[in-house]
């Protein structure tokens, strides 16, 4: 797609008009900069245009500056549909339902932690399995899985795996009430039985960071962040359970197109009306998988807190700043034509950013991450911002250009410890394989969608393999 096809709204926002393709129901909008746009693949833009054809879509399909091609909608995409007659789409949530991020705050500075850093990283790696067929040693029963699917974080806190504040500081309070475990297949549940409290592979990680820079002192104070503070970021999702749930519902939904006379340009856009039996069942199942993901991050938090207390003494603790999803579909109220309107908001590789909310943007391995604060202006993007960096280099190319040992050495030079059982995995996630996170966050801030509050720099990365 040529830039000539786009209309400039302002320096950081461009529109693909509805006239670009006959089947578009609304325009598409992309938050980007001149340079980031040059890096964006054509396929991702076509996928963005494809999402504008979804029945019931409101205002425009939106892409964030970290857009890259996915399946069906692009990664970094946001689409809000009319409630309740618009569609709900498993394809617009993606295979990792409620992949997301949480940030834990310590009361220590980098100087305090330095002598213990290696030990903390090693112990955390030992405590939290990181995928590749490895789960936890204990298999939960299907009954326990059902309780997690319906109870999410509050259930685990009730069982002693967290603090009451953990519930308050989670998006949706760690539990979507519509969740119904009976809508999730036994296959999916069995895939999740040994995965509560595991990282998974790919770009998932747990990271000890220091607060490198504070941009907004006032908001940082409210969030409890200060310069040189050590914080812990966790990035993972619903693991095999969520993947299977998406696979199961793609099959169900694809079989329903004729019934609902749905015509879409790409199979992976798979969708059904929200108020259809299939749509309702998917919403309840996806909500359950989301609860599972929040519970997964909660359980990881529990194990990290144990390590923290073992190494630093029982009085030390980690407080949850916030936990936010970046692959999800939810019912939210937004302003449409001046009216408060209920919508089915899909975010695939996009983070919810309500005014005043801490917004967590993970960087790639070894690069900065950000804490942002939501703003009122983000109502134009259905209170959504970017979710991370976005790949620009294939894993294959990364392996051809870099060795794991080389990457470890370079990170060490920057003072970053990396813990992973796979050197190949380290090479695949080399920082050069990703877009520059600083530029992405810059676009989000300049567009007014969120305010930069703090930049985090990694001290130790425990990586999914």
């Amino acid at each position: 797609m040529q830039k000539e096809n786009l209309i400039k709204i302002n320096d950081y926002l461009w529109e693909i008009p509805q006239s670009f393709r006959k089947d578009m129901k609304v325009p598409a909008r992309i938050y980007t900069s001149q340079r980031l746009f040059q890096e964006t693949e054509d396929e991702a833009l076509i996928q963005l245009v494809n999402t504008t054809t979804l029945p019931g879509i409101v205002k425009y399909a939106i892409a964030m500056p970290d857009i890259h091609s996915g399946y069906g909608p692009p990664i970094g995409g946001v689409g809000a549909m009319k409630y309740p007659e618009g569609i709900i789409s498993p394809g617009f949530v993606g295979y990792d339902e409620n992949c997301g991020v949480r940030l834990l705050k310590s009361e220590y500075t980098e100087e305090d932690i330095k002598p213990h850093l290696e030990k903390l990283a090693t112990r955390i790696q030992q405590e939290i399995p990181s995928g590749l067929g490895r789960g936890r040693a204990i298999n939960l029963s299907l009954e326990q899985i059902n309780k997690i699917l319906e109870g999410g974080v509050p259930y685990l806190v009730e069982q002693g795996y967290g603090e009451k504040e953990d519930i308050e500081n989670c998006e949706e309070k760690g539990e979507i009430e519509m969740a119904d475990a009976s809508c999730v297949s036994d296959y999916a549940k069995n895939r999740g039985r040994d995965q509560v409290g595991t990282l998974g592979s790919g770009n998932h990680f747990c990271q000890l960071d220091k607060v490198e820079e504070i941009f907004d002192k006032e908001i940082a104070k409210i969030f409890g962040l200060f310069k040189n503070q050590v914080v812990i970021m966790i990035h993972t999702g619903s693991r095999g359970l969520g993947h299977q749930n998406c696979v199961d519902y793609l099959k169900i939904v694809m079989g329903s197109y004729q019934k609902y006379k749905i015509q879409i340009p790409d199979r992976e856009l798979a969708c059904v009306p929200f108020n259809s039996p299939e749509g309702q069942k998917f919403f309840k199942a996806m909500s359950a998988a989301c609860n599972f993901a929040w519970a997964n991050r909660q359980m990881i938090t529990h194990y990290i807190r144990q390590v923290w207390k073992n190494v630093l003494g029982k009085d030390s603790n980690l407080k949850l700043l916030y936990d936010v999803a970046h692959n999800i579909a939810k019912i939210e109220e937004h302003e449409v034509d001046g009216q408060k309107t209920k919508l089915i908001v899909h975010r695939k590789g996009a983070t919810r950013a309500f005014p005043g909310q801490p917004v967590l943007i993970p960087g790639s391995m070894g690069t900065a991450s950000y804490v942002l604060g939501g703003t009122e202006k983000a109502k134009e993007s259905f209170y959504s911002v970017c979710h991370g960096s976005g790949r620009v280099m294939s894993r294959h190319e990364a392996l051809r250009k870099f060795t794991g040992a080389e990457v470890v050495k370079n990170l060490k030079k920057k003072g970053i410890i990396i813990k992973s059982f796979s050197l190949k995995g380290i090479a695949e996630e080399v920082p050069e394989a990703y877009k520059n996170i600083n530029e992405i966050v810059e676009v989000v801030e300049k567009a007014g969608l969120a305010k930069k509050v703090a930049q985090l720099r990694p001290l130790a990365v425990i990586k999914g393999e």
């Binding site: 091609s69 069906g72 067929g133 790919g202 095999g240 696979v247 099959k251 694809m254 190949k424």
Partner: protein
């Protein structure tokens, strides 16, 4: 030719292209190709594990994806990586078969799911079947 497969570059995920003389061989090639992405480490004396599968789908393209996702789910639950397929019945929307594999100690690559993205089984001018599958990893 029975079947050939090769991994193609993709910025975020893995693309696998399979060419085969028959539809049956295409399914066998896809299974073997998927196992080659996972790259299991199978202990020397790991016993053979056999399982029966039966899948009903919308069409042949969906059948291939549903078949591979079914195998992937079994692998995730049991750590058995399957790479052999004995087809009992294959139509354009139905597969009944036996899959065979071995339990692995370790996977080199975790696959989240097999996607339908751009997937279309085609016959080339030599009459060979060809398909490209995108795996979400």
């Amino acid at each position: 030719m029975v079947f050939q497969y090769q991994i193609l570059p993709h910025p975020a995920d893995v693309k696998l292209q399979i060419t085969a003389s028959t539809k049956e061989e295409l399914f066998q090639g896809a299974l073997k190709g998927m196992a080659s992405i996972i790259q299991p480490q199978i202990p020397p004396k790991a016993p053979l594990v056999k399982e029966n599968i039966e899948i009903q789908s919308l069409d042949l393209n969906a059948l291939l994806v549903d078949f591979l996702n079914e195998v992937l789910a079994k692998t995730d639950i049991t750590q058995v990586v399957f790479n052999k397929l004995k087809i009992r019945k294959l139509t354009d929307n139905y597969l009944q078969a036996e899959i065979e594999g071995q339990k692995s100690d370790y996977f080199d690559q975790e696959i989240k799911a097999v996607t339908h993205h751009g997937l279309e089984i085609k016959q080339n001018k030599n009459g060979h079947y060809q398909v490209t599958i995108l795996f979400d990893i």
